[in-house]
Amino acid sequence: MLEIKNLHAAAGDKEILRGVNLSVGRGEVHVILGPNGSGKSTLMNVILGHPKYQITGGEIFFDGEDLTALKTFERARRGIFLSFQNPEEIPGITVENMLRTAKQSVTGEKIKILQFHKELLALMKDLQISAEYANRYMNVGFSGGEKKRNEILQLLTLQPKLALLDETDSGLDVDAVEIVSAGVAKFHNEKNSCIIITHNAQILKHLPVNRAHIFLNGRIVRSGGAELVGEVSEKGYAPFEVES
C-alpha cells in the first residue's frame, strides 16, 4: 500500500530525512519508535506533502501511484489521514462543519446534513466527547487531550485507507489512552493500515502490531516484530545508536 524508498527531505538547508525505507502492506499495523527530534513527524508531513519540506531524493508510492506529484488534499482524497502531533486551532470553523466539508471532499458525495449529524454524535459518544463540541470551533481552546480525541473523531469519520498517528497517545490521561486506543482498534480492519508513532506502548494494547521500526537521525535503523517495542522500553535507544 505504502512504499517509501530511500527518501531524503530537508527544511531549507537542514536535511532531516536521510534515506528512509518503509513498506506497509494492506491490513498491517506498523509502529515507529524514535527519540525526540529524530524526524518522525517530518516523515508524516512529507508523506502528506507539507510545503515547508522539500524532497531531495527518493520516492513515495501509494497504491502504486507516485504521491510526490499530488497536492496535499489529493493525497488525503486517495485515503491518507494524519492524526497530528499538534493539531491546529482554526477559529470560526466548527468541528461539525469542517468534518462535513472534509467528508464531502473525500467521498465526493453530497452529505445529508441530518444523517451526518446523527452519525457524528454517535461517534462522539464512543469517544466520550460531549455533544456540544460539535459546535465548537476546531480545536480552539481544546485541552491537549481533547485535541487528540478530536483527531480520532476525524479518523473515524473519514475512514481513510492509511492512518498515520503521530503521538496520538501523548499527553493523555490513563482513561483517555484507553478511549483513543479503543477508537483506533475500532477503525482498524484487514483493508486499512496504520502507522503509529508512539513513546508509549499502551496505545498498542488492542492492536495487532505487525512491524516495529527504530527511527534514528532521519532514517529507520532497525525493523522487526512487536518485540522491539519492549526492547526500547527496557533499554532505550542507546543500543541502536551504533547502527545509525
Binding site: A76, E89, A102
Partner: protein, 465 residues
C-alpha cells in the same frame, strides 16, 4: 433642556476629532438657486428650506477632512453635478456595468429586482410584501415610511429630531447632506412597543428612491424594541459617484435598537456616510455593519451613551479588494456614569486593497465607571494588501475599565495544511478560514444576510486564491 444635551454631545464629538487645519476653499458649484430648486421640487415646508440654506452656508465655510483616505478624486468644484436633482440616472439596463450584472446573477437576484436595484425600471413585487408589513405596524402604532412622507405626515417629529444628532456643521459632507438630502427611511416606535419582525429597507429600496443623500431617522421611545435592516448585499449602482447619507438613531430610556446594514457599493463610489445614535438611560444600541464595495469609504458609526447605564455593541466587517480604500470603524462617547460598550470588528484586505480600522473611544468626566472593550482583527490575504488599525482612546472619567485588543495577521499556512490534510481543496480551505475569521460577525446577522455575506465573500475571493 434639549439644547443643552445637544451642546454636550457636540462638544464631546468635536473633542474626538482632529482639528481641521486645511485652508478654506470655495466651491463655486453649489448655489442657493439649486438648493431652492431641490426644495421646491420636494415640496419642503418653509423651515426645511431654511435648514437647507443654512446648511449650504455651513457647507461653503468648511473644508474637506485632512485625515483618512484620499478623496481628492471628488471634484468639489463640480459638486453640483453630484447633487442636481435631475442628475443623470441610468435609465437603460444596457448601461449597467457587466461586473454588477454578473454579481446580481451570482447572488441569485431575480431579473425584476436587479433592474430595480440598479435604479433602472419599475418597482418590483416586494411592494406587496411591504404593504402587508405596513398593516401590522400601523396596528402597533409604529410609523415606517420614507422621509418625504414623514415630513408631511409627521412634520413635528421630524422637525424636532432632524439633524440634531448629526448637525450640518459636523463636517463638510454632513453640511452637504443637510443642504441636498433626499429620500431615506423614517421609523417611529411608540413607548413600550416591541416590533417583533425586523424592518428591512430592502423591501422599499426603489420605492423610497434610495440614492446618494438619503436620510434615515429612527426614534425608539422608552422601553420599545426594534431591529432595523438597511441596505442589501447586492451592489448598488449609481452613475454619480458620491454617497453622503446620514443616519440618526434615537434610543430612549430602556429601549433597544439593533441597526444592521450591509453596504455593497459599486466600485466607483465614494461612500462618506455619517451614522450616529443617541442612547439614553439603560438603553441599548447594537450596530451590525458590513462594508463591501465602493472605491473609498469613510464610515464610523458613533454611539453617544448619554444616559446612565446606556450600552452600545458594535460589530463590523470590512472587505477591501483591488483598488479599494475602506476606512471604517466606530466611535463611542461615554457621557454618563456606568455606560458600557463593546466594539468587535474584522477587516480583510486582498489584491492590493487597503482596509483601515479607525476608532475613537471617549470617556468624558461625567462618565465614571465606564466600561469599554475593543477587539479589532485584520486579515491580509496577500503581500500587496494593506491593513492598519488606528484606535484612539481618550479617558477622562474615573474608574474606567477599558480593554483593547488588536491583531493583524495573515492566513495561517499551517491551518491551510491542516484542512487540506482532511481532503479539502486549497481554495476551499482558504475560503473557509476567511469565513471563519468573520464568523463572529456573520452570526450576528439575520440568517439570509449571513448567507448573502458568505456569498459575497466567496465572490470576492474568487480567482484570487
Amino acid at each position: 433642556m434639549k439644547k443643552n444635551y445637544i451642546q454636550d454631545i457636540e462638544r464631546a464629538l468635536y473633542d474626538v476629532r482632529d482639528a481641521d487645519k486645511s485652508i478654506y476653499k470655495s466651491d463655486a458649484g453649489l448655489t442657493e438657486e439649486i438648493i431652492r430648486d431641490i426644495s421646491a421640487r420636494k415640496n419642503d415646508p418653509p423651515w426645511m428650506l431654511e435648514f437647507r440654506l443654512k446648511s449650504l452656508e455651513v457647507y461653503k465655510k468648511i473644508s474637506l477632512p485632512t485625515w483618512g483616505p484620499d478623496i481628492s478624486a471628488l471634484n468639489m468644484d463640480e459638486i453640483v453635478t453630484y447633487v442636481k436633482p435631475n442628475a443623470k440616472q441610468v435609465d437603460d439596463w444596457s448601461q449597467v456595468p457587466d461586473e454588477i450584472k454578473k454579481t446580481f446573477d451570482r447572488l441569485g437576484i431575480p431579473e425584476a429586482e436587479k433592474k430595480s436595484l440598479a435604479g433602472v425600471g419599475a418597482q418590483y413585487d416586494s411592494e406587496v410584501v411591504y404593504h402587508s408589513i405596513q398593516k401590522r405596524l400601523t396596528d402597533l402604532g409604529v410609523v415606517y415610511t420614507d422621509m418625504e412622507t414623514a415630513l408631511v405626515e409627521h412634520e413635528d417629529i421630524v422637525r424636532e429630531y432632524f439633524m440634531t444628532l448629526v448637525p450640518p456643521k459636523d463636517h463638510k459632507f454632513a453640511a452637504l447632506h443637510g443642504a441636498v438630502w433626499s429620500g431615506g427611511s423614517f421609523v417611529y416606535v411608540p413607548a413600550g412597543v416591541d416590533v417583533k419582525i425586523p424592518l428591512q429597507s430592502y423591501f422599499r429600496l426603489n420605492a423610497a428612491g434610495a440614492g446618494q443623500f438619503e436620510h434615515t431617522l429612527i426614534i425608539v421611545e422608552p422601553n420599545a424594541k426594534l431591529h432595523f435592516i438597511e441596505g442589501c448585499s447586492a451592489p448598488r449602482y449609481n452613475v454619480t459617484n458620491l454617497h453622503a447619507g446620514c443616519v440618526e438613531l434615537f434610543v430612549k430610556e430602556g429601549a433597544r435598537l439593533r441597526y444592521s446594514t450591509i453596504e455593497n457599493w459599486s466600485r466607483n463610489m465614494m461612500n462618506l456616510n455619517t451614522k450616529r445614535a443617541l442612547v439614553e438611560k439603560n438603553a441599548l444600541v447594537e450596530w451590525v455593519s458590513g462594508s463591501f464595495g465602493s472605491h473609498v469609504s469613510m464610515l464610523y458609526p458613533c454611539s453617544v451613551l448619554h444616559g446612565e447605564g446606556a450600552r452600545a455593541e458594535f460589530t463590523g466587517v470590512t472587505f477591501a479588494g483591488k483598488g479599494q480604500n475602506l476606512d471604517t470603524g466606530a466611535i463611542v462617547i461615554h457621557a454618563a456614569p456606568k455606560t458600557s460598550a463593546n466594539i468587535n470588528t474584522r477587516t480583510i484586505s486582498k489584491s492590493g486593497g487597503a482596509a483601515t480600522y479607525r476608532s475613537a473611544v471617549k470617556v468624558t468626566k461625567n462618565a465614571p465607571f465606564a466600561k469599554c472593550s475593543v477587539n479589532c482583527e485584520s486579515l491580509m490575504l496577500d503581500d500587496k494588501s494593506r491593513s492598519d488599525t488606528l484606535p484612539v482612546m481618550d479617558i477622562e472619567g474615573d474608574e474606567a475599565d477599558i480593554g483593547h485588543e488588536a491583531k493583524i495577521g495573515r492566513i495561517s499556512e499551517e491551518a491551510v495544511f491542516y484542512l487540506m490534510a482532511r481532503g479539502i481543496s486549497e481554495e476551499e480551505a482558504r475560503a473557509m478560514i476567511v469565513r471563519g475569521f468573520v464568523e463572529p460577525i456573520a452570526k450576528e446577522l439575520p440568517l439570509e444576510y449571513a448567507v448573502e455575506m458568505n456569498n459575497l465573500i466567496n465572490l470576492e475571493l474568487e480567482g484570487q486564491l
